[in-house]
Symmetry: C2
Subunit: 525 residues, 2 copies
């Protein structure tokens, strides 16, 4: 029997229920919002307490920046203040897909264009020719010409600058071989706000459900919680390389319906996060058919579209798949999320991305536009970068060779690192780890000894969190416990990025092996 288990959920839900109970009892009278404190009262209750905030906020959690990261930051401060205070020299943040924090260098061409667009006054100067490549200068001019008044400091259209959307649509067409419409593109500050926007549109109450993979990227559980909906889990099958089975989708959909939940959308993350699987075309076609048949919006998280590491798998967008099945915009409602934070570029700090929204009526599109307009527009540098990643230098451009070398260097190194770490995990006693076919993570399963589980429970900690804390304290390596992503009850995992630089991998593997052996020895049954 499978059950959705997320660490700390129970305690949070308890607090949540407590807060709900409080807010419907006379105890609420303690809240100063409904009680005018006398002016003489020197210490009235504060206007905002855990009991009086929005319970949806309380319920939301986000593991990849959770407790373990706070602990890691504390250890880092201790190391800085007192070198040698821990058995490691540095904290290795393998908790989050943040490549440049682990020394991945940005793509030079992209940064040249961004710098020139930030300070166009130098475009005409002779020194600029010596500092920047000719095609970066040309591209900057092209982009500036697409911006009304060349004003990179002005709010743009709320969907993003039209010329940049044209470029992105052309990039999608080149990728998919099917038409893309710039009016379907909404540029956003990374993929996260785009996901929130769709959840906000779809979720009316906790009777509305969103089908999400388990394990999932916790943005989805967090966003559904914040918007007051219900996460309807479907389990990926670890035994078949985290396969996505339609029978499981059907079963969970029916189970949700029987509980009175209206399921509105299906989230698919491809390549998978945290699982790293790349879906086959056949599987994608089944998924499209399922959404069409069941009247579900397909929310396709395709932010790792450039991150595929195995020769027998290839990324196909869900739009391409559905169009190749003969389904047009009238047949299926589909949102594809893309981000500048992932791929080979890894420009997380730029907060750029877009969603391509197809298969919605004009009046719904107007509502999405309205919500986008309340935040005016996404940041222009992120918009420019999104256009660059969808239209990088081409053969013959001055920057092409250096660009291609940078890109291939990063992607082939990521593939090597994924393989090395996967093999290392599989060599650990009681650990099994699927291949990272794509994305930026491995999600090994640890078969923990019963004594370790008991030791964890004695400290009121999920066993995988217990393991991750011990790992951090012993090695400085930060991984995220599987309970933050959801996992089959009684199984334990952690997510580890493949992002540390290659020259650091041997030391990481060795620290990991030593730690794991010591841990298993300590808790061996």
């Amino acid at each position: 029997m499978r059950r959705f288990v997320v660490g700390r959920t129970k305690s949070l839900v308890n607090r949540y229920q407590r807060s709900r109970v409080l807010s419907s009892t006379p105890l609420l009278l303690d809240s100063p919002s409904s009680m005018a404190a006398p002016p003489s009262s020197s210490h009235p209750s504060p206007p905002v307490t855990l009991e009086t905030i929005n319970p949806k906020v309380l319920k939301c959690e986000y593991a990849v920046r959770g407790v373990i990261v706070t602990l890691a930051e504390r250890l880092q401060h201790e190391l800085q203040a007192n070198p040698g205070s821990h058995p490691f020299d540095e904290i290795l943040y393998c908790n989050i897909g943040n490549p440049q924090s682990l020394c991945q260098q940005p793509i030079t061409f992209f940064r040249e264009v961004l710098a020139l667009c930030d300070h166009p006054a130098i475009l005409d100067r002779s020194e600029t020719q010596g500092l920047f490549s000719a095609d970066a200068i040309e591209r900057a001019w092209q982009i500036l010409d697409q911006i009304p008044g060349r004003a990179t400091g002005a709010y743009s259209h709320s969907q993003g600058i039209k010329g940049l959307r044209d470029t992105i649509a052309a990039g999608i067409e080149a990728r998919d071989d099917f038409p893309a419409d710039p009016n379907d593109i909404f540029l956003t500050d990374g993929a996260s706000p785009a996901v929130h926007m769709m959840m906000q549109l779809l979720i009316r109450s906790e009777q509305d459900g969103i089908l999400c993979p388990i394990p999932q990227y916790p943005l989805y559980s967090a966003s559904i919680a914040l918007h007051g909906g219900t996460l309807v889990p479907y389990y990926l099958d670890e035994a078949t390389g985290w396969g996505l089975e339609i029978s499981e989708l059907k079963e969970q959909l029916e189970a949700a319906k029987s509980k009175g939940i209206t399921v509105r959308a299906l989230v698919v993350i491809n390549p998978g996060n945290p699982t790293g699987q790349v879906l086959s075309e056949d599987n994608q076609r089944e998924i499209v058919e399922f959404c069409k048949k069941e009247g579900l919006v397909l929310l396709a998280d395709e932010v790792y579209q450039e991150n595929v590491y195995v020769p027998d798998k290839k990324f196909h967008s869900f739009k391409k798949i559905s169009r190749s099945m003969g389904y047009g915009g009238d047949d299926i409602s589909l949102v594809s999320f893309q981000s500048v934070s992932k791929g080979y570029y890894g420009e997380c700090g730029k907060r750029g991305g877009y969603m391509e929204v197809t298969g919605f009526s004009a009046d719904i599109r107007e509502q999405i536009y309205k919500v986008a307009s309340v935040n005016l527009c996404s940041n222009i540098s992120g918009q420019i970068l999104a256009s660059l990643v969808m239209n990088p230098p081409k053969v013959g451009d001055e920057s092409y060779e250096s660009y291609a070398a940078e890109k291939d260097g990063i992607l082939s190194s990521l593939a090597k690192r994924a393989k090395t770490l996967e093999e290392a995990f599989n060599h650990l006693e009681g650990v099994t780890c699927n291949k990272a076919e794509g994305a930026m993570y491995l999600f090994p399963r640890i078969h923990l000894p019963q004594k370790a589980i008991e030791a964890a429970e004695a400290t009121n900690t999920a066993p995988d969190a217990f393991y991750a804390h011990r790992l951090l304290h012993a090695t400085g390596i930060v991984v995220v416990p599987g309970s933050g992503f959801g996992q089959v009850l009684g199984t334990w995992h952690f997510r580890c990025t493949i992002l540390p630089q290659e020259d650091k991998i041997p030391a990481i593997v060795s620290r990991l092996m030593d730690f794991h052996k010591g841990f298993m020895d300590e808790f061996r049954d």
Copy 2:
């Protein structure tokens, strides 16, 4: 008798109510979410319709990018495709505080630093010395040294880069002469996401109310609608230069309480948007006292803090005022919003800003941090820019003189433009216009002839929207009808920015006068 009237609200609320009725009746069975469409059905109902989206989205509206802007964009396309098709050469967007869209130039020093941080590879190159000022190069190095690994492409701490928060806190201290803590700063993609974050925290249901000025900046009404709360209006007094009276706050608070509303926070916009008033210190002290006494969070929109145009008024932050009254963090919960989009810099497209959050307990701060962490971080260029506007060049720095000249040029020109436009409006028949003491807008009142009101009603349009549409069609000038901001029932206004460049003002004034005279002649009673 005053009443809160917002244009189009009625029709939207009608649609909203219709959708609520629908969603609680058997008609919902038409929705495919609860009905598995047979595979043979070639045209099943779409998964998302106006009847099945989140009614809060439907209810939300945002006037500054509303219908009139869509119309203006259409006219602009027509002008481009067919020059001479309208009685004007260009559209003048006076609907939104977007200075660089109207040719305001960015501050050179800020853009130099941003460009260097975007492409640090050039910092060491000799050509760079010729292209960039020495202090911009030095500042870029300082900023890079504050970023772990100098990685401007990495996600930062979810509150923003610590070193930049240190700089901002120091800037606040220099401004206020009271301590500021970098741990109280949350860097955000402009002020709008910060406002949403606080609304999300505070609003549990429509029984939670937020006191907002009328007229207000429609971000507040939009955000409250999206989060499902109730806007509790308090009316600024046009007769006393849009004065904020405590008696009015009290009256509206009591009225809300008597309807079962728990009022959680008071929004104050200072300098005012759309009204342009700058609050006096005495008035601010009364407001602080009121919030303290009533247990309200004070949400202080201080994004126009640099935009004060009259010698007898000065901006004081609410934090400074409350600290000077002897109130510390334990006494009052206060959030101050700041943005890089306004001031003399007007860097709207960069989406930078921060909120300074004081007077909340550690566990509430943890919740705010958690919500911030779900979006990972705000964009790094915006973060850098927020640190720059709070710590611009100082006397003695190489850039100081040119920086000061740019800044003073913009601010003194804005003051002149405000005065010229204010006088022009006051010369129009039946128009009265308060002084823009600060911010970027004038909010003239138009006393419309009865025949114009009837003509508007005949086309199902609010009279001020009717006027604004006529103005746009005749002159290409885009203003926002007062009904988008809220106004006393039976009064009509529009908001017009003071942002067109000085050399354009005479032509604008002349077009405005001609149009207005024609309009009044046409509809004179």
